[in-house]
Amino acid sequence: MRPIPKMRMEPSDQRLAKEAATGDGAAFATLLARHYDRVFAMAFRLTGSRAEAEDLTQDICAALPVKMARFDGQARFTTWLYRVVVNAAHDRRRRQASHAKAADGWGDWELARQAANAETAERIDWLTHAMRALPDDLRDTLALVLDDMTHADAAEVLQISEGTVSWRISEAKKRLKELKEKEENA
């Protein structure tokens, strides 16, 4: 992923993360404030619903302090953080999987219809449809890559090989293309 634009005087993520890992509350606060929006955006991409994303972000915030203590600086902080987000999303999905009431966020058509911006509504509808058509693993991988991650970074986050990421992306593209053609022909 691209480095986050920041002022020159600000301490690096890596340094803050190490300080937070050793118990520095101020470093932790700075770090989380800096990345909160990103975490939320990623949570949205993984869940496809605003409400779910808010809840997932809350889960992550509640759990992050404990996880933080085990950040060892081996991975880049953002990579590590994304891994936390993806794992939290998996856990949450798993928890809901057998829950009869579980609503697949991307399947939540109502939400898409309520999209306030009429101009983008159609595209969002297509997006919802498209994301919904993908299995979880392809969707997660795609969400990371759409967030400007390289395949190598996405591989590190998902703890799979880069080749698998590339394969999943091409598989996702293939499916999306089929979907689009089907719609256009319909």
């Binding site: 932790f28 939320f40 949205f44 808010e54 057998s98 997006l127 593209k173």
Partner: protein, 651 residues
């Protein structure tokens, strides 16, 4: 670029669709994170994984299970809840500094739980263990009593909100059940056995396994409307749950007969299944030696639900009717402190035994190790020449207080095994079932682990299969198969992940392995790919050594080692795996059924080798192979598959 799809559109749409976070929630969440951060820094101990606690991903499925519980049931079901409950009770008692300490520790532990789903069981146990002494000495004994009290549900919510998820409970009440992690179930984590290439790794070695606990857990999960945790699925235990009608050995031969058959794999046209069936001899039941049984019964607070202690009492009462007058029974309980409830008593005095069984009451925490030590001491005192002594541990798996170190406990059990006392483990109830520890205990104690969720299961394990469960006929049974690279390109052992041995362990009589009881049958399945098969997943190496074509059409060579009970040296049985293959339809009903159950397990666990073989195929195969099925076990399995099919369609 005709097969490419432009992601830019999608990306633009995604960016447009991504909302900005709600400011109020953001502030709340940041505050929550900070609060948890500060709280976490206050805790003295880092959570540390223990060697037998699976590391990651453990609690998938467990949450879903929790959701199927009403809050009250979840409350009474687990001891992690006890920790949560204690937080609430303590504020009334905060006059002494000891209690302040206790509160702080418990609070930290529960805070850790939010995210340390896996480690938390161990941590909570550790912490509780450390705290056990002050609690015990404290004047208020009610502290240790976990039974949740009149206003239990209320406490549960407020405690959880306090300890776990900050303001969440008030924000979304429907979510708070989900956010409490009271469930401490633990399953051994093992990757499915990988495909092996015969030219690289021609030898496969494992220990046999007669446990059936996994099938019980799988059934219990499915019947409660959720798919089992993948680590709870152990295919060999599912396959071995069912009785098979393999021919028993003739008298004077080895204690068990070995049958090897190869037939067409139902889920892959290009591979075959090598079916290895062992059948233990069934000695004349009248001749059996007297039994000394020590029931070691967990009466901790967590056992206080209908599917635990009450079911356990009924189960043992059933078993009692199968015992003979010359057998004897003792009962040791463990909860808080271990105690002998019934001194060794002849089985003929049924009324006395039943009366003390019925007096058992759940309460207190679990002093597993002390209980186990006392049970073994009792068993040794009861033992006379020629008797079979066995400790039967009945627990929901919460085996913690007083347990200094899980490895030390295993060593202790191994020592006792060498002294001739066996250990069987019966699991009851769900919620904090420590399947991993139960497995480890039974494997080290030369015993069987079974999971009992209904009286029917108690009937099967404790009455129908009593002799098999209690009378070992062969110890340390190991199987080693060498595949012939000229015939078999690839092979894969289905199941037995927790039972794999090193190649060199096969001939080492010091290495422990599984036991076969009287009348037990054991089944193992290999999926093999012939060298000329289209289904080969790996290509032959261009520069690899040519497989030596020695003209033999054998698929491989099977070697078995076992020890007669009490013997120190093993005996060897050898038999070739001939190259004869029958079609699936021509295989016996037993073999087809075993294959269907292996398929069922793979569908639940990992189905990457199954191709497009579906639930429907598994159901059809099992349904067509039910055979006599006099107790309806196979019919039940078919029903379970149908349920699992519907459940997996929901996912």
């Amino acid at each position: 670029m005709s097969d490419d799809f432009d992601l830019d559109d999608l990306k633009a749409a995604m960016t447009a669709a991504t909302p900005t976070p709600d400011d109020a929630r953001k502030a709340e969440n940041l505050a929550l994170a900070q609060k948890n951060f500060d709280r976490f820094q206050g805790s003295a101990d880092e959570p540390r994984p223990t060697s037998d606690a699976p590391k990651r991903g453990l609690f998938r499925g467990v949450f879903s299970m929790l959701q199927t519980f009403p809050a009250k049931a979840a409350l009474t079901a687990t001891t992690a809840m006890v920790a949560v409950g204690m937080v609430v009770y303590l504020p009334n008692l905060t006059n002494t500094s000891d209690f302040d300490d206790l509160i702080r520790v418990e609070r930290d532990v529960t805070a850790v739980e939010v995210e340390e789903q896996v480690v938390v069981g161990a941590v909570a146990k550790d912490e509780r263990r450390k705290q056990a002494a002050p609690v015990a000495e404290a004047p208020t004994t009610s502290l240790a009593a976990p039974a949740p009290q009149p206003n239990g549900v209320l406490d549960y919510d407020s405690a959880a909100g306090f300890a776990v998820s900050g303001e969440m409970a008030s924000a979304e009440p429907s979510l708070d059940v989900m956010h409490i992690e009271p469930n401490t179930e633990a399953f051994p984590e093992a990757e499915a056995n990988p495909l092996k290439v015969t030219t690289e790794d021609p030898v496969s070695t494992f220990s046999i396994d007669v446990d059936t606990a996994s099938y019980g857990i799988v059934r219990n999960s499915i019947e409660n409307g959720y798919l089992p945790h993948v680590d709870a699925v152990r295919i060999e235990e599912m396959v071995n749950y069912f009785p098979y009608d393999y021919a028993a050995p003739a008298h004077g031969e080895a204690p068990f007969a070995t049958h090897v058959t190869t037939f067409q794999t139902p889920w892959n046209d290009g591979t075959q299944l090598v079916h290895i069936g062992l059948q233990g001899q069934l000695p004349a039941v009248e001749d059996r030696p007297p039994l000394n049984l020590v029931f070691l019964i967990d009466t901790s607070g967590s056992m206080n639900s209908p599917d635990k202690l009450p079911l356990l009492k009924q189960s043992f009462a059933l078993m009692l009717s199968e015992l003979r007058d010359e057998d004897s029974v003792a009962i040791v309980t463990y909860a808080g402190s271990a105690g002998q409830v019934l001194a060794p008593t002849a089985a003929s005095e049924r009324a006395t035994i039943l009366a003390s069984l019925n007096q058992l009451d759940a309460g207190g925490s679990t002093a597993g190790q002390a209980g186990l030590q006392q049970a073994y001491a009792t068993a040794e005192a009861m033992s006379e020449e020629g008797d079979v002594s066995r400790v039967i541990l009945a627990t929901d798996g919460d085996f913690n207080v007083g347990l200094s170190d899980p490895d030390a406990l295993k060593d202790y059990i191994s020592d006792k095994r060498d002294s001739g006392t066996y250990l069987s483990v019966l699991g009851f109830g769900r919620g904090n079932l420590d399947d991993a520890t139960m497995q480890a205990l039974a494997q080290n104690g030369n015993g069987q682990a079974a999971y009992i969720d209904t009286l029917n299961e108690a009937q099967k394990v404790l009455v129908d299969q009593l002799t098999g469960a209690l009378f070992p006929i062969a110890n340390d049974v190991k199987i080693q198969v060498e595949f012939n690279p000229a015939q078999v390109a690839e092979y894969r052992l289905i199941g037995y992940e927790t039972r794999i041995l090193n190649r060199e362990d096969f001939n080492n009589d010091k290495v422990d392995a599984g036991e076969i009881g009287a009348g037990h049958s054991v089944t193992a399945l290999y999926e093999i790919t012939p060298v000329d098969s289209q289904a080969r997943l790996t290509d032959p190496l261009r520069y690899g050594a040519e497989a030596d074509t020695d003209g033999s059409n054998e698929f491989g060579f099977l070697k078995l080692r076992y020890k007669a009970p009490g013997a120190d040296t093993s005996q060897l049985i050898e038999t070739p795996i001939t190259g004869t293959v029958t079609g699936t339809a021509e295989a016996s009903a037993d073999m087809r059924f075993a294959a269907a159950i292996a398929g069922f397990g793979q569908l639940l666990k990992e189905d990457k080798y199954l191709g497009d073989w579906s639930w429907g195929d598994a159901i059809a195969l099992a349904n067509g192979a039910r055979g006599a099925d006099s107790f309806g076990y196979r019919a039940e399995a078919v029903q379970l598959m149908r349920l699992a099919e519907s459940l997996s369609a929901q996912q």
